[in-house]
């Protein structure tokens, strides 16, 4: 019917029994209505929604040629569809209908009858005025995709999945835990029949796992949902489990090798588990997963990328050889590092905040020493086949050069190392004094490197005095690595520097480490604040100096030396004079006698970021001294290399590409102090290994930058989060002891002593396993099926479904805040879910009910309504607690014979055989005390209460306050919304009520549907309920989904937006604000167009358009204005 037709309106006022008529004077309203413009027919009837009522409408339409219908009755939510269908049946477009709600909005909420009648009249008049402007609309028909998405793999999700899959449809079942089963998998027995939970659950789990129509996606979460009913597009994120699902046989051998220990969430923290685990033996899928949250802070702190977490755990498990092998994968010289490394890892260790860092460095020393003693100097891996045509020359036998050499040699590349000095070792031998790092140890470790296939030629400098780089290439080497270190001392350039008695630190230390006993005299000044200065000072003491003073131009805080070193020096009697700098050396007969210094003050920061030291004019003073050692800086001897075609930086270091370590000359790489400036051993080794990899790529003709150096890298886990989740004792670490000061300054013997095996293993156990899995790879070695892939990445799956069932379950209430019950304060107070684990045969006590000290409890109290029926926590009743509490009473009695006290307010036992269960428990002798517990306390008032927990409650039926001493207390905690329920609600477009449960479409008539078409809910996520009700709801939701699928097509609301191209100016405001991107701009016509398939009909575009070119069908401006006039005039 065209709009130009004269509107003829039929109005029907419903009595709704007496629901409307008891407040609204129907006669008056009918009379009023019949006199409105355009109203042809005005009637009333008791039940408009009934068949007769609808017949009324249909007949009138035919008889009176009506083309508009108004029904004034209940809410459009109830019957708009009904009446629209009636119109359709009668042959007019269903959108030419308007409903006025005079029940929910008028008769039920208004006290006064006069006012109610007036309000009803206003609403009817508004509806009449509006319906005149309605236009016929064609509803959209959409196809229903037959696939179904089910979120949640508990009993509800599984039941629904099986029903739908059995009907021949595909189900995607997404579960965020590694196994399906939900909470039911944790129970022992279920009420009231006392069926074993696993016995009834596992057959369903197996069916789900094996069903060809169910795509089981465990350890996965739904990330995004878009679309609309029948056409949802879902993105599912599959978390990496690092175990290949199709290869794992579930044999469990891997667990035996895992050294990591984490709190077991499945057991509610009652026991620990390994990083590779299976939640419970009957898990489906029956595979293991690895809990790896990232990398531990120690691992990511190491400049060489050494897996500190890994080897610490291996040591704690007694696997010293494996630990050594793990270390050798990333660094060489473990024994040296174990003595001289600054231990960047320890600074990041989470234990820093819990007693003291794990002594990672000492553990490395222990395991290296152990390996050399028990296994020998055998490299764990040596390549058998030598790649003779790709040999490499390394210049400099320091840590960088030897690391590069080692890592190339073990892959089969022949390496020759050219060393300028007499012996190899670089700074390790010639700079670090023997009281920190003995040279015979350096010898041993170099021997180790040689056994990997590295040739070392000493007394052969490369540079100005020896071979040139060109020569090396001519000799047949295909690549060169420069690890020449930073061996040249900086000079001060002040008068008197050439006096006898003025030493420079690197030269000085080299002489000492070569065995020379330099005579320094009694009074020694050391200039500088770095590690060299400290080394020189402590060496000076050992050479007999009586008074050693370090003079430094900035303050203590800016000294670059390691804090431990400075402390050790001071302990040995070294003095530190800050804000002092020498300006001249004075001597007698060519020998040093005095050092003239000037006082300094700190100014603004300079390029190093530290405050600039500014000399104070006129503050000169003289210090008498026998020797002075200048330790003011080192730099590489790189000048000659410039002639070999290498670019040298301003500070003397060799320029290299930061990623590939390639110098400016092809085939020549460099690393260590030579490129970084003076730094640490571990950094040098790290760079040496990195260069080895890039040299390998170069030798094999690969593109150097095709892949990054570290292909496998994960983010550092958050220390604070880790500490929150772990249980630990705050204790001091086993620090390695030191020789007493008086004794040790007399010689160059090692100051630090080793940890013995027992203490080392204990220290390793202090590690908190921050990242979870430590990647020690022991599981891989034990897995016969080769099912472990530590480099697995997360995957995203995109699926299309037609309907979604949400079955995300619940979370048990956490009673930690209810201090009166003593949870987490007294060891024998358990929540019900924890207690379930004590009963379960796979749980921490093997199904026996035992206290934490192993005793069998003689008296047990079960406290109802913890976190339920309480204004202070949750107002609702959680429905299942009374029943499961009684179940516990029975199990406790049966397994231990203990006396059981149930403290309740009301006993709620409404289901089938529930009341009978209650009777049974009474007859078994359970003591039911009606009174909500006020306190659980260990403060005793009588000898009978000693050593027990006392439950205080008023026995309201007897009218007395009772104090009941018991051994164990079980808190029957209520149910709360599941963790992350709000995220799921947001994703699928449903709402949560004030308690967090998902809102159903109608609390009585549509408990499994939601306001969002195509999305259904089932189980506890809709509200607390027991297993029979959950399964019923799941079947109901499945039926709803199948009903949709069977219909194949569904009508979607036709109220979409429309843009009038005549009025639209193409400003695109509407396009900008549309949240569904349903508006496109057509540049050809210069106007915007609505994509009706995507438009949801919210109307924002219409309200935004400045020209009012956009209208929303069925909610256009005319319709709303006329409704407005109707209520106001």
């Amino acid at each position: 019917m065209a709009r130009r037709d004269e509107p003829r309106v039929g109005v029907y006022i419903c009595h709704c029994g007496i629901n409307i008529s008891y407040k609204v004077n129907i006669e008056e309203v009918v009379d009023f209505t019949s006199r409105l413009e355009r109203v042809v027919v005005a009637r009333d009837y008791k039940f408009m929604c009934s068949n007769i009522g609808q017949e009324l409408i249909i007949n009138d339409i035919k008889e009176h040629n009506l083309n508009r219908v108004v029904v004034a009755s209940c809410s459009p939510r109830m019957h708009e569809k009904t009446f629209r269908n009636a119109c359709k049946k009668a042959g007019i477009n269903p959108y030419l209908f308007q409903m006025a709600s005079i029940r929910e909005l008028v008769s039920w909420v208004t006290e006064d009858e006069r006012e109610a009648t007036q309000k009803a009249k206003d609403f009817v008049r508004a509806a009449v005025r509006r319906v005149i402007h309605h236009e016929p609309l064609q509803p959209r028909i959409v196809d229903i995709n037959p696939n179904v998405l089910i979120i949640g793999g508990g009993i509800a999700g599984m039941q629904a999945a099986l029903e739908i899959a059995d009907a021949g449809r595909i189900v995607y079942l997404v579960e965020r835990e590694p196994s399906i089963g939900g909470h039911m998998a944790k129970f022992d027995k279920t009420f009231p029949t006392l069926d074993c939970s696993a016995c009834i659950l596992t057959p369903k789990m197996v069916s789900v796992g094996q069903h060809e129509n169910i795509k089981l996606l465990t350890y996965s979460e739904v990330e995004d949902v878009s679309g609309y009913i029948g056409n949802f597009e879902v993105k599912i994120r599959r978390k990496p489990s690092f175990v290949l699902e199709d290869k794992c046989t579930g044999c469990g051998e891997c667990v035996k090798g895992c050294p990591v220990s984490l709190p077991n969430d499945f057991e509610y923290g009652l026991m620990d588990r390994t990083a590779i685990y299976r939640s419970f033996p009957q898990a489906v899928p029956n595979i293991f997963v690895i809990d790896k949250e990232g990398f531990s802070p120690c691992r990511n702190a190491c400049p060489a990328g050494l897996n500190a977490h890994g080897y610490v755990k291996l040591i704690s498990a007694g696997k010293h050889e494996e630990a050594f092998k793990l270390i050798m994968e990333r660094v060489i010289f473990p024994a040296s590092l174990g003595r001289a490394c600054p231990a960047f890892c320890e600074r990041e260790c989470s234990r820093q905040l819990a007693g003291g860092p794990v002594q990672i460095r000492a553990l490395k020393r222990f395991v290296a020493d152990w390996y050399y003693e028990n296994v020998g100097l055998e490299p764990p891996v040596v390549a058998q086949e030598k790649k003779e045509d790709r040999s490499v020359a390394v210049v400099g036998a320091g840590p960088a050069g030897l690391a590069c050499a080692y890592y190339l040699a073990v892959q089969g590349y022949p390496v020759t190392v050219f060393e300028a000095l007499e012996k190899p070792g670089g700074m390790l031998r010639y700079a670090i004094p023997e009281y920190r790092l003995p040279n015979n140890l350096v010898d041993k470790e170099i021997e180790f490197v040689k056994k990997a296939g590295v040739e070392i030629v000493c007394n052969t400098p490369v540079g100005k005095d020896g071979k040139r780089i060109d020569e090396l290439f001519k000799e047949g080497y295909k690549a060169v690595f420069l690890g020449i270190g930073a061996h040249k001392d900086r000079t001060m350039g002040i008068p008197g520097e050439d006096l006898k008695g003025v030493h420079h630190s690197i030269t000085f230390l080299r002489r000492i480490n070569s065995g020379e006993r330099v005579v320094l005299g009694d009074k020694v000044i050391v200039v500088g604040g770095g590690n060299s200065a400290i080394d020189a000072a402590r060496a000076a003491l050992r050479l007999g100096a009586k008074d050693v003073t370090i003079v430094y131009r900035r303050s203590r805080v800016e000294m670059p030396a390691f804090p431990e070193e400075i402390e050790a020096a001071e302990a040995e009697g070294v003095k530190i004079q800050i804000l002092t700098n020498p300006v001249a050396f004075h001597g007698k007969d060519g020998n040093l006698s005095e050092v003239e210094c000037v006082r300094m003050e700190l100014g603004e920061p300079d390029e190093s970021g530290r405050p600039r030291p500014i000399p104070i004019e006129g503050s000169n003073f003289k210090i008498p001294a026998d020797s002075v050692i200048l330790a003011i800086g080192q730099y590489p001897d790189s000048a000659p290399l410039a002639e070999d075609g290498l670019e040298i930086n301003r500070d003397g270091t060799i320029w290299v590409d930061p990623e590939t370590l390639a110098t400016s000359r092809e085939g020549v790489f460099a690393g260590g102090d030579a490129t970084k400036g003076p730094s640490t051993i571990v950094e040098a080794i790290g760079l040496g290994r990195q260069a080895a990899e890039y040299i390998r790529r170069f030798l094999e003709g690969e593109d150097l930058k095709a892949r990054p150096y570290e292909e496998h890298w994960l983010e550092t886990v958050d220390r604070e989060e880790v500490l929150k989740k772990r249980r630990y004792e705050v204790n001091e670490p086993h620090r390695p002891s030191e020789r007493p000061v008086a004794e040790r300054i007399k010689d160059f013997g090692e100051v630090e002593l080793a940890l013995d095996e027992e203490r080392a293993v204990e220290e390793g156990r202090r590690c908190l396993d921050c990242a979870g899995c430590c990647e020690c790879r022991q599981c891989e070695l034990l897995c016969e099926a080769n099912a472990i892939d530590h480099f697995m990445k997360e995957e995203t799956l995109e699926v299309k479904v037609g309907s979604i069932i949400v079955a995300t379950g619940f979370k048990p209430f956490d009673p930690s805040n209810l201090v009166q019950y003593g949870y987490k304060r007294y060891p024998e107070v358990y929540t019900s879910v924890e207690f379930e684990r004590l009963n379960n045969a796979a749980g921490p006590t093997g199904g026996e009910i035992r206290m934490k000290d192993g005793r069998v409890p003689g008296r047990v109290a079960i406290i109802h309504c913890v976190g339920s029926r309480d204004e202070n926590t949750n107002r609702y009743c959680s429905r299942v607690c009374c029943m499961y509490s009684m179940k516990f009473a029975h199990l406790v009695r049966e397994k231990t014979g203990a006396e059981v006290y149930e403290f309740y307010i009301d006993i709620r036992s409404p289901g089938k055989m529930y009341e009978e269960f209650y009777n049974r428990l009474q007859e078994e002798g359970t003591h039911f005390v009606r009174g909500k517990v006020a306190d659980v306390t260990d403060v005793t008032q009588s000898p009978e209460e000693e050593g027990r927990l006392v439950v205080v409650a008023e026995d309201t039926l007897a009218g007395k306050v009772r104090r009941v001493p018991v051994d164990m207390v079980i808190l029957s905690v209520g149910l709360t919304a599941a963790e992350g329920a709000d995220k799921v609600a947001h994703l699928v477009g449903i709402s949560q009520d004030q308690d967090g449960w998902f809102i159903e479409l109608h609390p009585k008539l549509a408990p499994v549907s939601t306001a969002s078409d195509g999305v259904f809910i089932a189980g506890c996520c809709q509200g607390p309920k027991d297993i029979p009700d959950t399964v019923s709801q799941a079947a109901g939701a499945a039926a709803e989904a199948l009903s949709l699928i069977m219909r194949g097509q569904v009508e979607v609301e036709a109220a979409t937006s429309y843009i009038d191209p005549e009025i639209c100016v193409g400003c695109q405001q509407c396009k900008k604000i549309c949240m569904y991107s349903a508006i496109d701009y057509d540049p050809a016509r210069g106007v915007c167009v609505v994509n009706e398939a995507v438009c949801k009909g919210c109307g924002l575009c219409a309200a935004t358009c400045p020209n009012k070119a956009v209208t929303v069908k069925h909610f256009n401006n005319e319709e709303i204005f006329s409704e407005l006039e109707g209520v106001l005039l």
Partner: protein, 141 residues
């Protein structure tokens, strides 16, 4: 005493949240003053400032716009736009001298039946205190 002033209040309720709350208030038989006349829209963002001004010019003493709580809009962000529009409208009303206090924006979730009744009650009282809409007595334009 002359007849007490009975305000006429128009309420634009969004179908998904506030209209449902109104239905729930009805189902729970909560009583509130009858002065509120409800007009259903799909989303609070549909409420054009023109509607509010027209309502006031047509003689409404107060206008209520009710939508879902921030973050819960069925159409993602519609209620945020509604908030801005109402704020803008109030500024315009100020300059027109039409009394911005007569317009109220309220967030009412689908389960908040009692809140709806309370808002209806309170807003009615507020408007009653403000007195009749001056636009009724004067002609604008």
């Amino acid at each position: 005493m002359s007849e007490p002033f009975e305000p006429k209040i128009v309420g634009f309720l969004c179908y998904w949240c506030s209209y449902t709350a109104a239905d729930l208030a009805g189902v729970s038989r909560m009583k509130y003053p009858p002065n509120l006349r409800v007009i259903r829209v799909m989303c609070s963002s549909r409420v054009d400032p023109v509607f509010i001004i027209k309502a006031l010019l047509d003689g409404a003493d107060g206008v209520l716009v009710a939508g879902c709580h921030p973050g819960d809009c069925h159409y993602q962000k519609g209620n945020y736009y509604a908030r801005r529009k109402v704020a803008l409208t109030k500024k315009i009303l100020e300059s027109l001298g039409l009394g911005p206090e007569r317009v109220k924006l309220s967030w009412i979730a689908a389960s908040e039946g009692p809140k709806f009744a309370q808002v209806a009650k309170e807003f009615t009282e507020e408007i009653r205190r403000l007195g009749p809409n001056p636009a009724r007595a004067e002609i604008f334009l």
